[in-house]
């Protein structure tokens, strides 16, 4: 009775969807869950909840750890399932659940939720179960700051008893919105922006513009990808584009101060080519307004026209500390902050308020299409 082998899975935004859309989202979520759970785990869908049944208690922790990284899941709780015919019968089951968990010295609260038709309300259930525990164990009730909180979720003639709630990432099921191309630089921001796009139901196709010989952050990118892989139900694809030769050509022909802008416009062109190959619908970047020279509003404006795809910038309104905090939470911070060589081509005084016409004029002196095609011809696709 006291072995928690049934995991309650709660989802958030999916509950706002209706009809066929909701079914599609739930199915996608279940498919993500199946991908990370052991084959023998059973999954059942009920209205507003999904339940995972595992055979043995020691599989529960592993399942909780995996499910807490599935996009779309708000929280999970390992629970003990019981069936009942009356509220006194339920309170007996709740007492058995409470006995090894609550001692006489503890203060406790019962948190009850209810779905279905019953001749009692949630608060009635909490009161009756609480009274039973006070009477049998002798613990004291403290509803505002209890030492122990026991929860009961009543669904028709079943009840799920639990004490732990493990947070999930929330958001939408992985891939439900389609594919996006995520630019990964090796810094702190781009893995965070990619993760946020994944959290909104996007399947990422990663693109890293390899700066060699002007810099080399491939090891940081690969380490970040390995961390992000833990958040995905399937392997991740990444394209490594040799960008150094392109940079060399730009610097040989264009004013140095425009390099960062022209560099980014080339990256968008690579991303668009890869998006077309992979059927991706948008480009995701880690830009945040004003964070560095290439991210002033004026310079972001100058990125216009380099691609016809929408550019999604999940970090646009965040400051560095907020971005770093997310990186730490999702696990990419360590990979992004290990030693790496920064770009040796960056001008000392990059343009912070470029003029789009000037940038376009400079591009006319370059064989932009040829540069992009050459880089794409030498691009490698890796799977993590």
């Amino acid at each position: 009775m006291n072995t928690a082998t049934e995991i309650i899975v709660r989802y958030g935004e999916l509950a706002l969807k209706r009809g066929g859309t909701r079914l599609r989202f739930e199915r996608r979520l279940i498919s993500s869950m199946k991908a990370v759970l052991p084959a023998e785990a059973k999954i059942k869908r009920e209205w507003g909840r999904i339940f995972v049944l595992v055979d043995e208690e020691n599989e529960v922790e592993n399942a909780l750890s995996k499910l807490s990284k599935v996009f779309g899941i708000v929280s999970v709780s390992p629970s003990v399932k019981t069936t009942f015919k009356s509220l006194p019968e339920l309170s007996e089951a709740a007492l058995e659940f409470a006995k090894p968990r609550i001692s006489k010295e503890d203060t406790f609260a019962i948190r009850a939720r209810r779905a279905g038709t019953h001749d009692f309300g949630s608060q009635d259930a909490a009161r009756v179960i609480g009274a039973k525990i006070v009477e049998s164990i002798g613990a004291k009730v403290n509803l505002s700051r209890p030492k122990k909180a026991l929860c009961v979720e009543i669904r028709d003639k079943s009840a799920y008893l639990y004490e732990r709630v493990v947070d999930g990432p929330g958001g939408l099921p992985y891939g439900i919105e389609g594919k996006v191309v995520c630019l990964l630089s090796g810094g702190i921001d781009s893995p965070v922006s990619s993760w946020l796009a994944m959290r909104r139901g996007c399947e990422p196709i990663f693109v890293h513009a390899d700066l060699s010989p002007f810099g080399d952050n491939k090891h940081k990118v690969m380490d970040s990808l390995r961390v992000l892989r833990d958040w995905a139900p399937q392997s991740l694809a990444a394209y490594i584009v040799p960008h150094g030769p392109s940079l060399e050509k730009v610097m040989q022909a264009s004013p140095h101060k425009l390099l960062c802008l022209m560099c980014r416009r080339l990256m968008f062109r690579y991303a668009e080519k890869i998006a077309s190959r992979e059927n991706a619908l948008a480009i995701v970047t880690g830009e945040s307004i004003g964070q560095v020279a290439s991210q002033t509003l004026q310079n972001i404006y100058c990125e216009c026209g380099a691609t016809s795809l929408p550019i999604l910038r999940p970090l646009i309104g965040m400051d560095k500390v907020e971005i770093e905090n997310i990186a730490k939470k999702i696990g990419t911070f360590a990979a992004s902050t290990q030693p790496g060589s920064c770009c040796a081509a960056v001008p000392r005084h990059p343009e912070v308020a470029a003029n789009l016409d000037d940038v376009k004029d400079e591009e006319q002196f370059l064989e932009v299409e040829g540069i992009v095609d050459e880089a794409m011809a030498n691009t490698q696709r890796v799977v993590v």
Partner: protein, 88 residues
């Protein structure tokens, strides 16, 4: 005298000459190639990237160098480059 400091990336050392230089990198590139001083990885008017003793070295017009090596080897390389440039 070469001044060395660890670069922000923690993967390279930055060397600066005592007095800033004004190097014509495209001309310097020709000398490097003709005298077989180092392997040239990239050449632009703003930065040259060389390979010396198996390490990558970026040379800037001011004489600043970025050397991807440990401090001891970076110092040796910096002295060699400044010796070649005649600005030691």
């Amino acid at each position: 005298m070469v001044r060395m400091k660890l670069c922000e990336s923690k993967a390279s050392f930055e060397a600066t000459p005592e007095k800033p230089a004004k190097l014509e990198l495209m001309k310097l590139k020709e000398n490097i190639v003709s005298e077989n001083f180092a392997e040239l990885l990239a050449s632009t008017p703003y930065v040259l990237v060389l390979k010396m003793r198996g390490m990558q070295v970026s040379v800037y017009p001011s004489g600043r160098l970025l050397i991807k090596a440990d401090e001891r080897l970076a110092t040796v390389i910096a002295e060699e480059v400044y010796g070649f440039l005649g600005i030691l």
